[in-house]
């Protein structure tokens, strides 16, 4: 078993880390305060070939594997949860399904601009009345002429207000349950009947737009159907295996960012004549933060490596997502505690990591749902 990263992966991590420290970290709190999606950062990430890391080179991607993708997601998370979240939603939810399930024409038309970083991807499954229970989906797509008419509301869609394309799940056959769900590529700029009704103010991650979107008599041509009719649900399951690995990696990054801030602070801050890192209570906290991060990172990288080898990654990716998201919130909370009153102010980063980490236990399947998946995997 080889736990060393390949040279190429290490160099890529190094470069992304440098970029993050120089170009993202200085603005990470500002963009939260301003609730501003930093389009300019994504342009720069596109120039560095980050936007298509795990997409094949023939469609404009980097041709990297999920291990590489996880490393990049972790580095982004280490400085900005918002940028990390918009990046992983773009990649694993917006772009990868087109590569996996699209026709050649669809890949040329819709995947290439995403992989090359000319636009952002998005993915719309959740609805106001259908979150954990996707079988209750109300959005419909009805045949009309040589296309489909979409009607319904999607909730909490990352990047929808800034997206080049959105993959939308809709019911094409109401009688068929999970087998009646299909996926459509929607072009927010061109398709009549599409609108963004809300961009939510959130507890954290405010530089990553989370939107409620509406489809009212929104006609799309039949070439926009991704894969076959009724394949939307099996596609979703496959998409989420990969997606969870990236949420796990992002969570590890958030935890690492919070830990770094806490460690640095604990070594500098003196009380009772000593650096607070010399008090057992703080020292033990930092040690257990480091322990949790290393553990979650190992699990995440194992899930990524298994996924890359083509094995069944459902259990590992769910375990990694569950563990990393929980330790991320715990580590970030501990980081706030290590900084005391300063940790509670917006002048220091731990509160930001704490806010951001909480989402990781909710998005792409809540922790409760991960437990349900894992129970099934264990045959319980």
């Amino acid at each position: 078993m080889d736990f060393d990263l390949p040279d190429e992966h290490r160099m890529i991590r190094e470069t992304v880390r440098d970029f993050c420290a120089e170009e993202i970290e200085p603005i990470a709190q500002d963009i939260e305060d301003e609730h501003r999606f930093p389009a300019e950062v994504f342009d720069e990430l596109a120039d560095l070939d980050v936007m298509g890391v795990p997409v094949a080179e023939e469609y404009g991607g980097l041709g990297g594997d999920y291990l590489m993708y996880a490393l990049v997601a972790e580095e982004l998370g280490r400085v900005s949860g918002s940028i990390g979240l918009s990046f992983v939603a773009h990649t694993s939810l917006g772009a990868k399904p087109i590569e996996a399930f699209g026709s050649e024409e669809q890949k040329e038309r819709w995947l290439r601009p995403l992989a090359e970083g000319d636009g952002l991807g998005a993915w719309a499954l959740t609805e106001p009345g259908s979150g954990s229970d996707a079988s209750n989906m109300q959005t419909t797509a009805q045949r009309e002429g040589d296309g489909y008419v979409l009607d319904g509301t999607k909730q909490f869609i990352t990047n929808a207000s800034v997206a080049e394309s959105i993959l939308v799940k809709a019911v094409t056959d109401p009688e068929a349950g999970y087998d009646g769900i299909s996926t459509f590529v929607v072009d927010p700029a061109a398709d009549d009947g599409f609108s963004v009704s809300t961009v939510w103010d959130k507890m954290g991650l405010n530089a990553s737009p989370t939107c409620e979107i509406q489809f009212e008599d929104c006609w799309v041509p039949e070439e926009r159907l991704l894969g076959g009719e009724g394949e939307g649900w099996t596609q979703t399951m496959k998409t989420l295996d990969g997606g969870r690995i990236s949420i796990a990696a992002l969570s590890v990054g958030l935890a690492q960012g919070a830990f770094d801030a806490a460690r640095e602070y604990a070594r500098e801050r003196e009380q009772f004549g000593h650096a607070i890192s010399k008090f057992d209570a703080i020292r033990d906290k930092l040690v257990s933060m480091d322990r949790k991060i290393e553990r979650a990172r190992l699990l995440t990288q194992k899930a990524a490596t298994t996924y890359d080898a083509g094995g069944d990654a459902t259990r590992l990716s769910s375990l990694a997502k569950l563990d990393a998201s929980e330790i991320s919130r715990e580590v970030a909370e501990d980081a706030v505690q290590v900084l005391g009153g300063y940790g509670y102010t917006e002048d220091f980063s731990p509160q930001r990591f704490y806010r951001d980490a909480k989402l990781m236990e909710i998005g792409e399947g809540t922790s409760e749902i991960q437990h349900a998946i894992l129970g099934d995997e264990l045959g319980l």
């Binding site: 040279d7 190429e8 470069t15 992304v16 120039d47 560095l48 070939d49 890391v53 990297g64």
Partner: protein, 264 residues
């Protein structure tokens, strides 16, 4: 045209560190491309992007560990790399400027470049002498501390701005083949693109021994030896005044008078 860029992997030290023996303890060191060399690589790559048929070759004296740093230069656009190292170099007690210049001169002889770019200095030892010593050895014209470069490839002339002491700038023409030592700030070094990093894995990186470049271990002998390493006592002493300008200006004036900086 061929440009040879000398690049060094330097050790960078954390703010807090411990000295063990004659060196800084390994756990406090991180290795990276020398800052000035990053500018030299960028300058060479920019030239290769603007003109046809420019080959950029990097030359390094360094152990295997340095290969990742060298590959980073390849990822930023250099075409291939030469790394000089063997057991004799490894066991040399101190590699002085003279020895390094001798080794690099042997590489220049093999490569026959039109232009050699080096960093002004290396961030670890800060001798600031390798580039110019190399120029002397190979008999190239040279210009040190170059902060602007305008190359006339056809005419074989480099028009350079040099930064001299006290903010003075000099404009000079240097005929190629030439050695230019590059000052930081001459350009804005790029981040390696991820595609560049992937491509760099398969670019040629030749390892050459002393024997390969036609030298023997005698060149490593040095009259210099490092005898000690210690942290100098810092004598800095700062006074900070808080308050508005009205109040603090008076205090500053009094202080300067006290110290004899101004009279009256």
């Amino acid at each position: 045209m061929k440009i040879l860029v000398t690049v060094k992997e330097v050790a960078e030290v954390e703010d807090e560190f411990e000295i063990s023996g004659d060196d800084i303890a390994e756990q406090y060191l991180e290795y990276d491309l020398n800052e000035w060399d990053d500018y030299a690589v960028e300058e060479a790559v920019q030239i290769s992007e603007e003109a046809e048929d420019v080959e950029v070759v990097t030359a390094t004296i360094g152990p295997e560990r340095a290969e990742e740093t060298i590959r980073m230069a390849l990822a930023k656009g250099a075409d291939r790399a030469v790394r000089v190292w063997d057991d004799d170099i490894e066991s040399a007690s101190y590699l002085d400027v003279e020895a390094k210049a001798e080794l690099l001169a042997a590489v220049v002889e093999e490569e026959d470049p039109d232009l050699v770019l080096t960093g002004v200095q290396a961030g670890d030892e800060s001798n600031g002498a390798t580039g110019v010593t190399l120029a002397e050895k190979i008999g190239f014209e040279w210009a040190a501390v170059v902060n602007q470069l305008d190359l006339d490839i056809e005419g074989g002339v480099a028009n350079v701005h040099r930064e001299l002491e006290g903010g003075v700038e000099e404009l000079t023409e240097v005929e190629s083949p030439a050695v230019l030592t590059i000052q930081s700030g001459i350009n804005e070094p790029r981040y390696a693109s991820l595609r560049g990093i992937r491509q760099a894995q398969s670019k040629p990186l030749d390892v050459q021994t002393l024997d390969d470049i036609g030298l023997d271990a005698d060149v490593l002998e040095s009259p210099l030896a490092q005898t000690d390493l210690y942290e100098p006592e810092s004598e800095g002493d700062a006074t900070v005044w808080n308050g508005d300008a009205e109040e603090t200006a008076g205090q500053l004036a009094e202080f300067l008078r006290d110290k004899g900086v101004v009279e009256g």
